[in-house]
C-alpha cells in the first residue's frame, strides 16, 4: 500500500519503548497554516471536512452566534470559532478562528493514550487516531491541551481531525485546505509554512497596523503542525480560548513513560514474591502437623 510508505509511523501510543518505523524513511514534516487575519468565517472548511469524511449530520440549535456549535464533535472535526472582541477604542473586531487538532509535535493525546497503536504520530507530523485500536478510555481527551478529541457514544471510540491522512498519504492536500476560498488555509512543509506565516505577520505589522501580529506555534508542546497567524499573538485566548501556553499534564508524561512500567513490574513482583515465599518458607500448616517425613535438618 502506497500510503504505508508515505505515512511512516514515528510514535505510537501505548508503547514505552522505541517506536516502529522511526527513522526508516525520509519524510517531509507537513503543516497547516491558518491565517486568521484573512479568514472570513465562511465554514467551507467545516463542510469540506464533513463531506470528505462522510460524517453524519447532527441537529444544531441557534445559540446567539454564527458559530455552528459550541465545540467540535466526533462528527464535526473542525469548527470556526467566532468571537466579538471589543478593542480598547470601543470598536469591534470580529475574530474567526478555525479550531481543530493542532497535530502537536509532542502530542498530549498520544502520551495519555494507553492503547497500543490507537494514536499514531507519523513522521510527517500528522497525529492520527486509529479507531480499530481505540478502547474509548478518553484519556486522550484529558491529555489534549486544545480540547480536541471527542467520544462517539455509538462506537464508543474517540475521533478527531486526521489532517486527512488518507489524502495526504496519496499526495493530496487535506479537504479543508483545498476548500478554503480565501487561501487563509495553506498546506505544505513545516518550514515553508513557518516562513509564509512569519512573512505575513511582518506584513501585518508593517503595512496594516497590527503591532502585535505574530505566529502561534507553541513550543510547550514541541511546536504544532497547525500554526496560526494572529492579529495579536500576545493574546491568543481571545480567539475562542486558544491557550497561550498549552501543556500536557505531567502525570501523563511521568506516569506513562516511567511509573507505569515500573509499577507494573512491581505488580508482577507480587506474584513472584508469593511464589518465592512458598518455595523458601513454605506454607504454614494448621498445628499440629502430621509428620509425613522425617525432618533431616532445620
Amino acid at each position: 500500500m502506497a500510503d504505508r510508505k508515505t505515512l511512516q509511523a514515528d510514535q505510537i501510543s501505548g508503547h514505552s519503548g522505541a517506536s516502529p518505523g522511526l527513522g526508516m524513511q525520509r519524510d517531509l514534516e507537513v503543516c497547516k497554516l491558518i491565517d486568521t487575519t484573512t479568514c472570513i468565517g465562511c465554514k467551507a472548511c467545516e463542510v469540506a471536512c464533513v463531506e470528505w469524511n462522510d460524517m453524519p449530520f447532527q441537529p444544531t440549535t441557534f445559540d446567539n452566534t454564527y458559530q455552528t456549535m459550541p465545540k467540535t464533535n466526533w462528527n464535526f472535526w473542525n469548527l470556526i470559532k467566532f468571537n466579538e472582541h471589543q478593542n480598547a477604542d470601543g470598536t469591534i473586531q470580529w475574530l474567526m478562528r478555525k479550531d481543530q487538532c493542532m497535530h502537536c509535535a509532542d502530542p498530549g493525546c498520544l502520551h495519555a493514550c494507553p492503547a497500543d497503536g490507537a494514536i499514531v504520530k507519523y513522521a510527517n507530523g500528522i497525529v492520527d487516531f486509529n479507531q480499530e485500536n481505540c478502547i474509548g478510555c478518553e484519556y486522550c481527551v484529558s491529555g489534549c491541551p486544545f480540547d480536541i478529541p471527542r467520544f462517539n457514544p455509538m462506537t464508543k471510540k474517540v475521533y478527531k481531525c486526521t489532517l486527512c491522512s488518507d489524502r495526504v498519504g496519496q499526495g493530496l492536500e487535506p479537504a479543508c485546505i483545498k476548500a478554503c476560498p480565501t487561501g487563509c488555509l495553506k498546506f505544505g512543509s513545516k518550514e515553508d509554512m513557518s516562513f509564509i506565516a512569519n512573512e505575513r505577520a511582518n506584513q501585518l505589522r508593517e503595512n496594516f497596523g497590527f503591532q502585535n501580529a505574530g505566529v502561534y506555534d507553541p513550543q510547550s508542546v514541541g511546536g504544532t503542525h497547525v500554526i496560526y497567524v494572529l492579529h495579536d499573538a500576545t493574546d491568543p485566548e481571545r480567539y475562542g480560548g486558544l491557550p497561550k501556553n498549552p501543556t500536557i499534564p505531567w502525570s501523563y508524561t511521568v506516569w506513562k513513560w516511567l511509573f507505569k512500567p515500573v509499577l507494573g513490574t512491581f505488580a508482577l513482583f507480587g506474584f513472584l514474591g508469593v511464589l518465592a515465599h512458598y518455595v523458601t518458607s513454605g506454607p504454614r500448616m494448621a498445628q499440629p502437623e502430621p509428620p509425613t517425613k522425617e525432618e533431616t535438618h532445620g
Binding site: I135, S142, D147, W255, H277, Q287
Partner: protein, 248 residues
C-alpha cells in the same frame, strides 16, 4: 443508633441467606463464615476480577488486549469497567457492614504486626494467642481495600465523567491515582489468594463450605477458637499433638 441499624440489617441479611443456603459443620470443625458472608465474598471477588480484567485492557492494552474479546472488545471493556467497579464497591460495602466489628483494630493487632516477620518466615508455627477472628494482616488488607474503594469511587467518577465535566487536570491526576490504587490492591490480592490457598492450607474451605477445622482455628486464630469453644488453644493443640503421637 446508626450502628444499631447496621447491626439489625446485617442480622437480617444473615438470617435470610442462612435460609437460602446451608453450612455443614462436621465434628472437629467450627463454623467460620455463614452463607451471607460467603456469598458476599464471592460476589465481591467476581466483580473485583471483572473490573480487574477489564481494567487490564485499559491499563496496558498491548499486554492485555487478549482479555478484551471476553468483554466484547476494548471499547466495551472500557464501557463495562466502571459498572463492574461499582458492583465491586457496592458489594464490598455490604461486606464492610458485615465485618465492621471484627475488623476493628486492637492492641493485639499492633503486637501481631510487630511479630509479623516471624509469622511470614514461618518461625512461629502458631499465631500469637491474642489473634482473634481476623489477624492484623487481614485487617490491613481489609482497610486497604476500603481505602482503595474510596479512591476508586472518587477517581473513577472523575474518569467516568471525563474532561468534559471535571477538566483535563483532574482526569490526568485521577488516572494516576486510580492506577496506583489498583496496583496496590492487586499486590494485596496476590497475597490474599496465596495465603488462603497454598500459604495456609485449610483456609480456602472457610470461604467454600464455611467451616474450618478446629486445628486450623487454634493455629491461626487462637483467641477466636477460645471464644467459640471456651477451650485454651495451646492446650487443645498439645492435646491433639499427644493424641496424634499416641496413635503413632
Amino acid at each position: 443508633m446508626a450502628s444499631g441499624a447496621i447491626e439489625s440489617f446485617d442480622n437480617k441479611a444473615r438470617r435470610e441467606f442462612e435460609s437460602l443456603g446451608r453450612t455443614r459443620v462436621y465434628r472437629g470443625e467450627l463454623l467460620r463464615h455463614p452463607v451471607y458472608t460467603r456469598v458476599l465474598h464471592w460476589t465481591v471477588a467476581l466483580f473485583f476480577f471483572l473490573a480487574l480484567f477489564t481494567g487490564f485492557g485499559i491499563y496496558l492494552p498491548w499486554l492485555f488486549r487478549w482479555f478484551t474479546p471476553f468483554f466484547g472488545g476494548g471499547p466495551l471493556s472500557r464501557q463495562m469497567h466502571p459498572w463492574f467497579g461499582l458492583g465491586f464497591v457496592f458489594f464490598f460495602g455490604l461486606q464492610v457492614l458485615n465485618w465492621l466489628a471484627p475488623m476493628l483494630w486492637t492492641a493485639a493487632d499492633t503486637k501481631w504486626m510487630r511479630n509479623v516477620h516471624k509469622i511470614v518466615s514461618n518461625e512461629e508455627k502458631m499465631d500469637p494467642p491474642e489473634t482473634g477472628f481476623f489477624n492484623a494482616g487481614q485487617k490491613v488488607q481489609f482497610w486497604e481495600i476500603v481505602g482503595g474503594c474510596i479512591v476508586f469511587i472518587i477517581t473513577g467518577a472523575i474518569l467516568w465523567g471525563g474532561a468534559k465535566y471535571f477538566g483535563g487536570t483532574a482526569v490526568a491526576v485521577s488516572y494516576v491515582l486510580h492506577d496506583i490504587s489498583a496496583l496496590i490492591m492487586l499486590g494485596g490480592i496476590f497475597i490474599h489468594i496465596y495465603q488462603s490457598t497454598f500459604g495456609e492450607p485449610g483456609t480456602f474451605q472457610a470461604m467454600i463450605r464455611g467451616a474450618v477445622s478446629e486445628a486450623w482455628a487454634w493455629t491461626f486464630h487462637p483467641a477466636w477458637y477460645k471464644q467459640v469453644t471456651g477451650r485454651d488453644p495451646v492446650q487443645a493443640c498439645e492435646e491433639a499433638r499427644r493424641k496424634m503421637e499416641g496413635r503413632r
